[in-house]
């Protein structure tokens, strides 16, 4: 397989008094589609610029296949970048933009012609070879930028929010194409984005960052289903978060514990399973995703003790086609978000309406403890 392993070890960078990166350590595997995800100012772009060679870290090293690349000029690295603002050369045609890296390497014209057309074909721009960048749409510009970054056959493609300037529909299409190109070429992709849905849909693994720190590294499934911190839980998708206190923690299955939490906001104790042992009295954050909460008009029929049930009133139902969102006010005043999928055709519209009295419930398996606040 082409591409290379990338190891980011204890990388820190400050700009004046601003800590852009604090002790970032990430190991990226050969051929992986790896995303750096976080809000603006979280350090993801700084990290990408360090890998590309535009910034030098204050401490720490970055290695490509075990070789330290800090101090090597950007033009000597095996990485190429797709920039957020495309950074196409305005004085050159599409053809010449893509040919630029080859011309720098003094490749002969015949090879240039075949190779450039091959990459222009890869990004489906055959009809636009002779156009200048200012004659192209945003999506076409970004395709040129992708072809130009790939033509040198780098081991790593760095993508700095490449789709953020495009409209939603186009973004989706180009994302699927990028994924296809990744599968076809097989090199390592490092994708910087603040858009969690982009990161979840294409990445093999994701590093979630905030305020210069790497908070969690994992597959999209791990990041979404078991966020390591409150920030990750809130940043990835929608969730309901509650501060709570551990009342009891007893072994449940082979590797799981059944934890009883006291949640002051909800006014009653809840059950949740967790892989880690916690001690009674510990403060923790508890979260349950809105789509894991069931909403029913009748009391859920379950004898299981592992189900958490609350009564409340629908404050605001939001119908959005494939699903409905309900903001439910519980009897003790707390609010909880519930998303219900519409799996069958609903003759009379969603059967739960505004001001309906409802039961919301979730099983102990569907909630999780995200962060132990103080040990």
């Amino acid at each position: 397989m082409k591409g290379c392993d990338i190891s980011i070890e204890h990388v820190s960078k400050t700009f004046g008094s601003f800590n852009a990166l604090e002790d970032a350590t990430i190991a990226i595997k050969k051929g992986e589609f790896f995303s750096l995800l976080g809000p603006s100012g979280c350090g993801k772009t700084t990290l990408l610029r360090i890998i590309a060679g535009f910034e030098t870290p204050d401490s720490g090293i970055v290695t490509f296949d075990g070789k330290n690349i800090i101090g090597i000029d950007p033009n000597k690295r095996q990485s190429n970048t797709v920039f957020q603002n495309y950074a196409l050369f305005p004085h050159l045609s599409v053809f010449e933009n893509v040919a630029f890296p080859l011309r720098i390497r003094k490749v002969d014209q015949k090879t240039i012609n075949t190779k450039v057309m091959e990459y222009i074909h890869l990004v489906q721009l055959d009809a636009h070879v002779d156009k200048k960048p200012n004659q192209l749409s945003g999506g076409q510009k970004q395709r040129v930028a992708i072809a130009r970054a790939l033509i040198n056959e780098p081991s790593v493609l760095l993508l700095d929010e490449p789709l953020s300037a495009l409209d939603a529909k186009l973004r989706q299409n180009l994302l699927v194409e990028l994924d296809a190109i990744h599968d076809q070429i097989g090199i390592t992709f490092i994708y910087v984005t603040h858009d969690q849905s982009e990161a979840l849909s294409v990445s093999d693994r994701i590093a979630v960052m905030n305020q210069g720190k790497v908070l969690q590294i994992g597959t999209p499934f791990e990041i979404y289903e078991s966020p390591a911190t409150e920030f990750v839980a809130k940043f990835i998708g929608e969730t309901n978060l509650f501060d709570s206190r551990v009342v009891e923690c007893v072994p449940y299955t082979n590797d799981e514990y059944m934890v009883t939490l006291d949640v002051p906001e909800l006014g009653q104790k809840i059950k949740v399973t967790d892989y880690d042992e916690t001690k009674p009295g510990q403060q923790v954050s508890f979260t349950v995703r809105p789509e894991k909460v069931r909403i029913t008009l009748d009391e859920p029929q379950s004898n299981s003790k592992e189900i958490n049930v609350f009564k409340g009133v629908v404050e605001e139902p939001v119908y959005s086609g494939f699903q409905s969102k309900f903001y439910v006010k519980l009897d003790n005043g707390a609010e909880i978000k519930v998303y219900a999928q519409h799996q069958n055709y609903l003759d009379d519209g969603p059967d739960i309406a505004w001001k309906d009295r409802v039961y919301v419930s979730w099983s102990a398996n569907d909630g999780y403890i995200v962060e132990v606040i103080n040990q």
């Binding site: 000029d73 033009n75 950074a87 012609n113 040198n152």
Partner: protein, 296 residues
């Protein structure tokens, strides 16, 4: 019956440009017309012309040693322009990337507050035998006799570059200021060295500014006469000096007019050629590729 058009839709464009038309005719076309006419007349004894058409002035111009002077003028102008542009490029680049742009721009413009003759004389004070440089070097014991810094071609070129440098810096700065410097990062990322990124990405994108800068420096330097007169020796005379001499001393107005025509024609041709380069370059690049593809 036709309805009156609303005021706003009437096209007053031509009317508005009328004063400019008058200005252009009075101060540009008319004088040039007079010069062209005079250059084909017989010279009057005490200046002026006699109204007899003749090619005398042109014959005189081509028959004498003026050819050498023409070449030298062209040479001095070429060297001065190249130097001015070579200095203006890094200046413009630094200004465009600086955080103190306004201050730097201000510093470039400050010399215009002083009369050019005074500024040339300042150079005489610096370069002269008892000037600043010679005095300093002598006091330091580096030289015993003063160096001949003044009244030669180098002095002319130095002062010309100094005089016209702001005209080169300003258009180049304007072009650099519009340049997206992240393109240099892109070039570096794609394998270009620092010099390659400058020559292959920065320069082509500020080309228009460079062309303007060349036009703004080449034309006035080609017609310059005060600088060679004041800091140049007898052998650093330029075409402009001949024109002045022919008008004020020799009183051969047709010859002066003929030389003026040379200056005007060379400048105009130069400008047109410069303005055409960009278009030709684009056509050449595209043509080369099409040819290559055909060969495949």
């Amino acid at each position: 019956m036709s309805r009156p058009r609303p005021l706003s839709s009437r096209n007053y464009g031509a009317a508005y440009s009328f004063p400019m038309g008058i200005w252009f005719t009075l101060f540009f076309l008319l004088p040039i017309g007079i010069i062209v006419t005079y250059s084909f007349m017989r010279k009057g004894i005490h200046g002026g012309v006699e109204w007899q058409p003749t090619f005398d002035a042109y014959i005189q111009m081509f028959n004498s040693s003026y050819g050498k002077l023409f070449v030298r003028t062209l040479w001095v102008t070429f060297v001065s322009t190249v130097l001015a542009i070579a200095i203006a490029l890094p200046c413009g680049y630094a200004m465009a990337r600086s955080k103190m742009q306004t201050l730097l721009l201000f510093l470039v413009i400050i010399p215009f507050w002083t009369n050019s003759l005074i500024r040339i004389n300042a150079w005489i004070a610096i370069l002269g035998n008892e000037g600043f440089i010679n005095e300093t070097l002598m006091k330091l014991g580096i030289i015993k006799e003063s160096l001949p810094l003044l009244y030669n071609e180098s002095a002319v070129i130095l002062v010309l570059v100094y005089m016209y440098l702001p005209y080169a810096i300003l258009p180049i700065f304007t072009a650099m200021d519009k340049f997206d410097f992240s393109l240099l990062e892109a070039a570096r990322d794609l394998g270009a060295t620092k010099p390659q990124s400058m020559f292959k990405v920065l320069l082509p994108n500020v080309r228009a500014g460079i062309v303007t800068a060349i036009i703004f420096t080449f034309i006035p330097i080609f017609g310059a006469y005060t600088v060679p007169l004041l800091v140049g020796g007898k052998d650093s005379y330029m075409l402009g000096n001949i024109v002045v001499d022919q008008v004020t001393k020799v009183r051969n107005w047709p010859l002066a007019s003929a030389f003026s025509m040379v200056i005007t024609v060379v400048s105009t041709v130069g400008v047109l050629w410069m303005m055409g380069t960009s278009a030709r370059e684009a056509a050449r690049v595209k043509g080369a590729r099409v040819k290559q593809e055909g060969a495949l």
